[in-house]
Amino acid sequence: MLWLKIATFIVWLYVVYALHRAELFFFKFLVGSVGMFFFLMMFIQPIILHPLSMAVTAVTGIPGDLFGFYDSYYRHVTLFIPKDTISVSMIIDYECSGIVEIMAFSSLLWFYPLYNNLEKLVIDTIGIALIFLVNVLRLFLIAVLIYYYGNEIFYFAHTLFGRVIFYIFSITLYFYVFTRPHIIRQKVGVFKYGNIDNIEPDR
């Protein structure tokens, strides 16, 4: 199986290189970002998943300790929410760690034809940090909801509420990282909502 992974990786590298030489930038972005996400999940995710989950758990425990809502057992990637007749051990697993979001963002960024490498490095670092912090915020809110409303709300809190929060942040982040700079750098005009007649073109 290992040789198949290596062979696939080499083929992907070659395809990206060929698309780059052919100046097919859209397809380079498409194949490159999808492939990078795939290989990050294959090779890197098993290595950093547990440390990342521990880090998320540990940082999430800070506001939990501060406000007394829950305890953090970062070695076991567990948030423990004791409340009256229930005690919930919430495990920070693969989905909760934010690793998918981090790798998706990085994959898109590194093949998006907008920034130079230094800019990509800085933006990627800041983006990963923001995703991490928003994930912490999401988990904190989920734990607070469970604290107040019991485990019955767990499914809603995690699957819908927390996810929507993450999506709103992700869309905002992607807008400021990809959409807005792309329009501005194309120099076809300023980015502004409203009546197009009132917008003076960028001369």
Binding site: P46, P51, Y73, H76
Partner: protein, 365 residues
């Protein structure tokens, strides 16, 4: 240049591929069911009690931890708990089914391990006539207690022994020690002062325990070396010089320090976890002075559902301890909800843009 890039890419690929298998699996084999609870020290415990606003002495601490395909449970019983574990029902509900497990005595009794804290037995001896054993706590006199000096002449069954420690203080002492200073001895017979129903009277068993302890301290301790109860830290045996090595065998029986049996004697006993009357797992409980103080056991999740990997949410209640439910939520909602939310958001955005475009077209017309 291309060759260099290609070589670099291949090198990178090899490095990544080799690093891939080094995955870390959390919570794998962390809990060992052996009667020692140190692997529970860093795991969450919930307070379980009956009624509302209980006193601290009525609060049990229950830890629940999913370990691979097992659900492991640790119980630190309340100080006032005296009902034992017999017929204790553990109700487990998961997203893939539920079951009610029952804890019960292990009929295979011979495998019980008797644990006795070393300092409590080192300076004692067995009075053959009364089959009573001196058990003393060094913190309460130990071998420095002049009344226990054989040279001062203690009467058999006299009152020279140290006063038994209060149950609670010894119990907490033992908890603090974390079962690190114990000596093991195989129990050869049913000699444990616990009848599965708590402190409901079992006087004869207490004597049997003393017999077992006497074997440890008397017949086996006489050896020159290698006894299991030999202190590992090289300390002199408590009890003074008269107790050293074989010397104690030369002491007149009348001079041997004997006293009333001194609880606490701590034993660890195995019990079984049953499902519909069939054993599905084992556990261990610690009994101090006829009272069960701590227990741990594991429940195989396949007994609830053959697809144990699919069990993401677990909740458990031990009604005999209290009404509290313990939840273990492994989350794992899968991608479907995310895809559905994304589709709904995209659909909403599409509808919005479509309407905006239509309005703009109508204005132009």
């Amino acid at each position: 240049m291309d060759i260099r890039r290609t070589s670099l890419a291949i090198l990178l690929a090899v490095c990544l591929a080799l690093s891939g298998p080094a995955s870390i699996v959390a919570a794998s084999g962390e809990i060992v069911i052996d009667g020692y609870y140190d692997d529970w020290e860093d795991k969450p415990h919930a307070e379980v009690y009956k009624g509302n606003n209980p006193q601290p002495k009525h609060i049990n601490l229950v830890g629940m931890f999913r370990d691979d395909d097992r659900l492991c449970v640790h119980i630190v019983f309340a100080e006032q708990y005296s009902s034992g574990i017999k017929n204790m029902e553990v109700e487990v509900e998961t997203n893939l089914g539920s079951a009610v497990f029952e804890l019960d005595e292990n009929p295979a009794y011979d495998k019980n391990i008797t644990l006795i804290e070393k300092p409590l037995i080192d300076n004692g001896d067995l009075d053959e006539s009364s089959n009573q054993l001196e058990l003393r706590d060094p913190e309460q006199g130990g071998n420095q207690d002049p009344e226990l000096d054989p040279e001062q002449g203690l009467e058999p069954n006299g009152h020279g022994g140290a006063e038994p420690a209060p149950e609670t203080s010894v119990r907490h002492l033992l908890m603090r020690l974390g079962a690190r200073l114990f000596v093991y001895a195989e129990g050869e017979e049913d000699a444990l002062p616990y009848d599965g129903e708590g402190d409901t009277g079992n006087d004869g068993a207490a004597d049997s325990l003393q017999e077992d302890a006497g074997k440890i301290d008397g017949s086996e301790e006489g050896g020159e070396s290698g006894e299991p109860e030999e202190p590992e830290n090289g300390e002199d045996e408590p009890g003074g010089e008269a107790d050293g090595d074989d010397e104690h065998s030369e002491v007149e029986p009348s001079l041997k320090p004997t006293a009333k049996p001194q609880p606490p004697a701590e034993v660890i006993r195995e019990f079984i976890v049953k499902l519909d009357g069939d054993p599905v797992g084992t556990g261990y409980m610690t009994i101090v002075d006829k009272t069960v103080v701590e227990a741990e056991f594991c429940i195989p999740l396949y007994t609830i559902n053959a697809q144990a990997d699919g069990i993401a949410d677990i909740r458990m209640q031990i009604n005999k301890l209290g009404k509290q439910w313990l939840y273990w939520s492994g989350v794992g909602s899968g991608p479907y909800i995310g895809i559905a939310v994304s589709l709904m958001a995209g659909l909403g955005l599409g509808v919005y843009l479509h309407r905006k475009k239509r309005v703009g077209t109508e204005v132009e017309e």
